[in-house]
Subunit: 166 residues, 6 copies
Amino acid sequence: MAEFTHFNEQGRAKMVDVSDKPETVRTAIAQSSILLNDEIFESIAANTMKKGDVLAVAQVAGIMASKSTSTIIPMCHPIPLSGVNISFQWEKEKRGHRLVITVTAKTKGSTGVEMEALTAASVTALTVYDMCKAVDKGMVIGPTYLVEKTGGVSSPDYKRQINQKE
Amino acid sequence: MAEFTHFNEQGRAKMVDVSDKPETVRTAIAQSSILLNDEIFESIAANTMKKGDVLAVAQVAGIMASKSTSTIIPMCHPIPLSGVNISFQWEKEKRGHRLVITVTAKTKGSTGVEMEALTAASVTALTVYDMCKAVDKGMVIGPTYLVEKTGGVSSPDYKRQINQKE
Amino acid sequence: MAEFTHFNEQGRAKMVDVSDKPETVRTAIAQSSILLNDEIFESIAANTMKKGDVLAVAQVAGIMASKSTSTIIPMCHPIPLSGVNISFQWEKEKRGHRLVITVTAKTKGSTGVEMEALTAASVTALTVYDMCKAVDKGMVIGPTYLVEKTGGVSSPDYKRQINQKE
Amino acid sequence: MAEFTHFNEQGRAKMVDVSDKPETVRTAIAQSSILLNDEIFESIAANTMKKGDVLAVAQVAGIMASKSTSTIIPMCHPIPLSGVNISFQWEKEKRGHRLVITVTAKTKGSTGVEMEALTAASVTALTVYDMCKAVDKGMVIGPTYLVEKTGGVSSPDYKRQINQKE
Amino acid sequence: MAEFTHFNEQGRAKMVDVSDKPETVRTAIAQSSILLNDEIFESIAANTMKKGDVLAVAQVAGIMASKSTSTIIPMCHPIPLSGVNISFQWEKEKRGHRLVITVTAKTKGSTGVEMEALTAASVTALTVYDMCKAVDKGMVIGPTYLVEKTGGVSSPDYKRQINQKE
Amino acid sequence: MAEFTHFNEQGRAKMVDVSDKPETVRTAIAQSSILLNDEIFESIAANTMKKGDVLAVAQVAGIMASKSTSTIIPMCHPIPLSGVNISFQWEKEKRGHRLVITVTAKTKGSTGVEMEALTAASVTALTVYDMCKAVDKGMVIGPTYLVEKTGGVSSPDYKRQINQKE
């Protein structure tokens, strides 16, 4: 049975020892999203032609957050991130437009990069919220989840089932 | 009409000048959540009696993240956070248990603390994910949103409508 | 006579006590620049229409650096930055194009914001270098200097003389 | 009776709300020390005449750590440190020389600066250890304690009794 | 003779070049402690049953500090920490109870992890101080020292002699 | 033709994937400088005998900045810096003395260390400015440029031409 690995012999949290694990190329893909009203959607979309900075700023924030993940998430190992890519898609919904944020993270190391991808996706969405909150404070972030993971040694590859979004 | 305030005269992002705004006591409440399967729920819940560290670690992570918000979110002002409180509730759902995370943040300053509350809530949820991902990678974080905001000068107080959750 | 203020009674560096100084609104303007060859200039300039991200990324980096100034510069006081604005101008030169970076920083506090403006200008230029170095490693950053400063209590306002650039 | 203030209504840690506390000038003095063997003492002491960098590096480290205290100590409030001064004294002991590190920290704010002074003193000592550990790993750091504290509102000034050192 | 290695040809501090050293598995064990009065001891001990968060918070702080060691200690190399474990023991003393903090750090890299273990131990103790200082400001931290070190290439393993504590 | 590599398929910035690149020993040398008036020059130079801390503080700042480069420069990879050395030279000029700052950085990794060297050089100069600005605000930083680079896999070694300084 899978087990909680973050506990020491006193039942307290620890940063798990990974020095025995081989270095492999590992990837993770995570998604988050933010639901925006039409006014905000139109401003951002128009901006991509005129002045458009919201997505550029959000994406820089996400990439920088991926590199700070081990200082944000307490039991996360520091890893040498070898690449991060963030892309955006728009989906029309009943109550506005959803900006879907997809993050791919890659490393060559002894632990996975799920947390880097998930943290980047969350921070990207939070930054969009920050830059648009003067217009509407009702934006909703998420759901945020892992889409795919490869390259682990002790655990198998993971792929989220379709329609498993919520 | 409300406007995007984060752009300068070249259409680029800037950190908005707030030096004219008076210092007032400001509060914000944000919520996030994470949906866990029953195995994880039982381990965490049992832990609250035996050894239970997941929520303690997550909450420390959330509080520390609230203090780092202005270094994580690019256009966010550094503010002197005067208090942060994170509490947890469990909700039973069809496909597991939802851990609801509520963050209250407070400052006496020239800008609001929405981003500090939202960032803390997100990082608390991400930390729970990190500590439980050896058991299940299918956990879903969010939705994450602002519940309430008081004390602003240029913008009115905000209160999320009930049932507006998703 | 003006004096070095950063030394204690043992002749060692200290962070000067400013608790007696009143809080005033203070501004500083700093400039840096980076000299780019024509190939890079054209790519960046074209990008401002098509995809153009170099300046957006550089500017986010500069703003974030201004907020981290007191953790980068050892004897610098932490201050509540109230606003930062970065703008760009191009100047044609004999050996390429110069990207001039102008940073305006503002605070309401007990110490000046010169270092925040200078640090932001430097990091903005360094980021442009980073994003273009695959094309040419011969780019030159600077000169970097203070253009103007207002709002101090113990020292008068400062304004750089024209043609004093180098 | 004095009480633990760092717990919320769920018995979990929180960052205490200080938004009601007035801003006063507050000071704290902390001491740490490190016991060095004679070989190291002589090298450092000689350096103070010739090239001497160990104490200079340690002191910069201490000052920078004082500014990062709220990101290192989880429940510590971010405060606008207004001044930090670190001084050194040597004491001859039976088994070597003790470098005594005294840190004075000052702020004008709503919470005390004890943690800033204690953190700076500890990091100064750790840095001396780091720079001398190639010569001897048996150096001992501490005891580390608060010497004095003034300016609080809810708690009285504090002064450590003489001979209370250990 | 062992030598100070942290100086360059100008007698100034440098970060020593370790690119020639092979990567080996390295461990370090460090200890610190904090002497608490009986009131605080009882509250913390009771807390382990009721609400007890002091040690959990302190331990998260220690683990996070171990990951930030190279940004806190100036000449310390960034290393890929592969595991950190912190445990607590209580010792009854004449003037109260001593909380003994033992940190084990591990890496697979080109430099040792002594500083990571020592920094984690110090920050763990500082966090206990912070959370209990409302009750008593007279707590004393340390002595703090290296207990054991293995895996180095140029320097032999180290083991502290018993009764060498102070 | 060399290409901008920092863009993804949406024309947005990304952190380039380097997981396929072999680990090699890489070095970079960068220079910056700061032009000081005679009063400041004499104080700093005299200090090297009496109390002189300006260069020591600046150099610590530079070394620490080299380790933070990937958190300051958005698209920069985190790398395990294996060594950093900063040295100083004085050059007499018509309008004062120029302090030339030379940084050598080294790593064993998959990407170069140009940005680490350039960032360290810039921050060293900024710190000198900070410590001397009470005497004169007219100091000029830079030009700042790459002098040399070795060890890359996809790009050849680089060496700046003499007299190419500006």
